[in-house]
């Protein structure tokens, strides 16, 4: 393993130093009381692409990789220290061979408050096809194009829990750059993105301190959330550098407000996410709205089948970072077999009624024995007009098989 390749750039070391003091400063009794837990997983994965690559530099053949993510937890009283490192070694894409610290934090739970200091993971939102309001953690795009894998984010987070809802405040020192496939990788833009030379609107570059605040509450059948973020936007614009045949990622300072709502009624889940973002081209709004309905125990079996529908709209102009979701429909189904192996399938399509482009996806998984899981993933990109973002993936349809061992 070539660790020099691992892009671990955490600009702010004081948090880590503070964490080390906390770690070293433990009373030994805390460990003895047990609170130590070691878990995690190791996995192997292979991707088979159905067509030869489209762009020069991209490697042909299957893409194989190994992944390791151990988790260490120390817990005592109302406090916990968590350490979750991550590493993947990939046979095809130099950028996908990468490591990260997913979590390294100290957490204290008070009666009416929570404190988290260190590198953490935060998720906001309710919809399935796109996570609009979720902005704290940077996307680890080389992991999965579903945008759901996230890089660890240094943070100071204080949440106060009140009868009128939970208010959560974030100070985010240090920016994480989005990962992108390298020149030899698949599922990339026509010209590679030069992740070694990012540019920033802020003079502080990746040391700009970002802020966020979130409000969350449950009112009967309604789950509501609202948040505000100021800082370096997680999505970069891609600036064409023709002489050097590359894109330069450019990170702007943005203001973003967002809201997420869910109304739950019997077997119906109605969902809404919306944002307004200022700082990338003209100020724009984006929306995901839809529902999920579940047929439980279909045909007197123990299988549950859910139907998902979401409408996606994004009002950004051409100067903003590109998105697949300008105006699309997501249709999907979720099948839960409710068997001992927890087998499940999620299948869906995002299609653009205007451009007619379609993005199909199937994810299936089940457990084998007590410690293994198997995953199947299929992604198909179809009918993308030339020049669109999806067209760059038009020869990258793939089938992926993965096996994980959990310990």
């Amino acid at each position: 393993m070539n660790f020099s390749r691992i892009p671990l750039r955490f600009p702010v070391t004081p948090i880590l130093r503070f964490l080390m003091i906390v770690l070293i400063g433990f009373p030994t009794g805390a460990f003895a009381e047990s609170g130590f837990e070691f878990s995690g997983f190791v996995g192997a994965e292979t991707r088979y692409f159905t067509e030869a690559p489209q762009f020069p530099g991209q490697k042909d053949g299957p893409q194989n990789s190994l992944v390791l993510q151990p988790e260490f937890r120390w817990e005592w009283d109302d406090q916990r220290v968590t350490f979750v490192p991550f590493y993947r070694e990939d046979s095809m894409d130099d950028n996908r061979s990468h490591g990260d610290i997913r979590e390294l934090n100290w957490r204290k739970a008070g009666g009416d408050w929570d404190l988290l200091v260190g590198i953490g993971q935060i998720f906001w939102g309710v919809t399935e096809s796109r996570h609009l309001v979720d902005i704290i953690n940077q996307t680890d795009l080389v992991e999965n194009i579903n945008l759901e894998e996230k890089l660890g984010q240094p943070m100071l987070n204080i949440a106060t829990i009140n009868d009128w809802g939970t208010a959560s405040f974030f100070v985010l020192p240090g920016f994480r750059e989005r990962t992108f496939p390298g020149v030899n990788g698949r599922l990339r833009t026509p010209l590679p993105i030069d992740t070694d030379n990012p540019e920033y609107e802020s003079g502080a570059e990746d040391r700009h301190v970002d802020f966020a605040v979130r409000y969350e509450h449950v009112l009967g059948d309604w789950d509501i959330g609202a948040n505000y973020f100021y800082g370096t936007g997680r999505e970069p614009r891609l600036v064409l550098d023709l002489p050097n045949q590359r894109f330069i990622p450019f990170y702007d300072l943005i203001n973003q407000v967002g809201t997420d709502l869910q109304y739950t009624y019997e077997a119906w889940l109605f969902k809404f996410e919306g944002i307004v973002r200022e700082g990338q081209g003209k100020t724009f709004g984006s929306v995901v709205a839809g529902f999920e309905y579940t047929f439980f125990q279909v045909a007197e079996s123990i299988i549950d089948v859910g139907l998902l529908f979401e409408y996606l709209y994004d009002g950004r102009d051409e100067t903003a970072p590109p998105t697949l979701f300008d105006e699309d429909i997501f249709l999907g189904t979720r099948v839960a077999f409710n068997d001992v192996q927890d087998s499940s399938i999620l299948a869906g399509v995002v299609f653009d009624p205007d451009k007619n482009e379609k993005f199909y996806t199937i994810e299936a998984e089940r457990r084998f024995g007590d410690s293994f899981t198997g995953e199947l993933e299929i992604r198909v990109f179809s009918d993308a007009p030339f020049g669109t973002l999806l067209n760059a993936f038009s020869q990258d349809d793939f089938i992926q098989l993965g096996v994980n061992y959990y310990f």
Partner: protein, 273 residues
């Protein structure tokens, strides 16, 4: 027909009507008595638990299929009592094994006649999802227990009818039929055996939507906590239709740990991982 005969016939008819009516009245009275007694037996059992405040327990589930193959699950359950019988208890379930669902958590705010409020926490994504809980009769993590079988049995979720008293093991049990008032229940009725000694449920038979016997639950190893609260430490469920079997083994019961509402709010799920 002469008038005398008619009178006789009418008298006879009146007698028949009177007898029929009288019998009807006494049957109705008996039914009301059976319902009152059934409720009384169930209430005494349920109320023996009143005032436990909060509890936490470790649960190991052993699932066995018809071929005898076994798989296990383990999880922690924390419960907060809501003493008002028209409000359900709150519970937090955190999975420990199998390892791939370690840290997955389910928060439930039980309601009596409506669907519970439930949130699922997925540790890999750190995502909390409000889920539909209208269906409580599906298998819980692949076991023979449905969610409605082993969460706190709220008194007012059923109507009751006392059937008989009979020997159950070394004890004498009252047999009470209970019918779910929750419209989406997976059962048409249940028969419960409640002992006359410590008033705990010893056996439950579950009848499916077709009215056929589906499952039989046996509760054993009752132990008393704080000189008051009885808890069964082994629950065995036999599915009579599929021949599958699930054992629940409870251990490390703790009462009165000072858990409060804050520990059972949606935001508390973030503290799991």
């Amino acid at each position: 027909m002469n008038s005398k005969k008619l009178n006789k016939s009418l008298s006879a008819l009146a007698l028949v009507v009177a007898i029929a009516g009288g019998t009807g009245a006494s049957t109705a009275f008996a039914a009301e008595g059976a319902e009152a007694k059934g409720f009384e037996v169930a209430a005494r059992s349920d109320r023996s638990d009143l005032g436990f405040g909060d509890s936490s327990v470790y649960l190991k589930m052993v699932l066995r299929n018809a071929a005898g193959q076994e798989t296990t699950r383990s999880l922690y359950i924390k419960t907060l009592e809501k003493p008002n019988e028209n409000v359900g208890d709150k519970s937090l379930i955190v999975f420990d094994k199998p390892a791939d669902i370690d840290g997955t958590a389910l928060l439930s705010h039980a309601r009596i006649l409506e669907a519970d409020n439930q949130w699922l926490f997925l540790p890999a994504l750190k995502r909390t999802k409000r889920i539909s809980s209208v269906n409580k009769s599906g298998p819980f993590v692949g076991s023979e227990f449905a969610f409605e079988d082993f969460t706190a049995l709220e008194l007012n979720k059923f109507t009751y009818r006392y059937l008989r008293s009979e020997a159950c093991g070394d004890l004498t049990c009252d047999v009470v039929e209970r019918k779910p008032r929750y419209e989406h229940s997976g059962y048409t009725r249940q028969l419960s055996w409640i002992d006359q000694d410590i008033h705990q449920v010893r056996r439950v038979e579950f009848f499916d939507r077709r009215g056929d016997l589906l499952k039989v639950l046996t509760l054993t190893d009752y132990r008393q906590y704080q000189d008051k609260f009885w808890r069964a430490h082994k629950l065995s469920m036999d599915n009579m239709q599929t021949k599958k079997h699930t054992d629940l083994n409870y251990s490390d019961y703790k009462f009165g740990s000072g858990l409060n509402e804050r520990n059972f709010e949606k935001v508390a799920l973030r503290r799991v991982r």
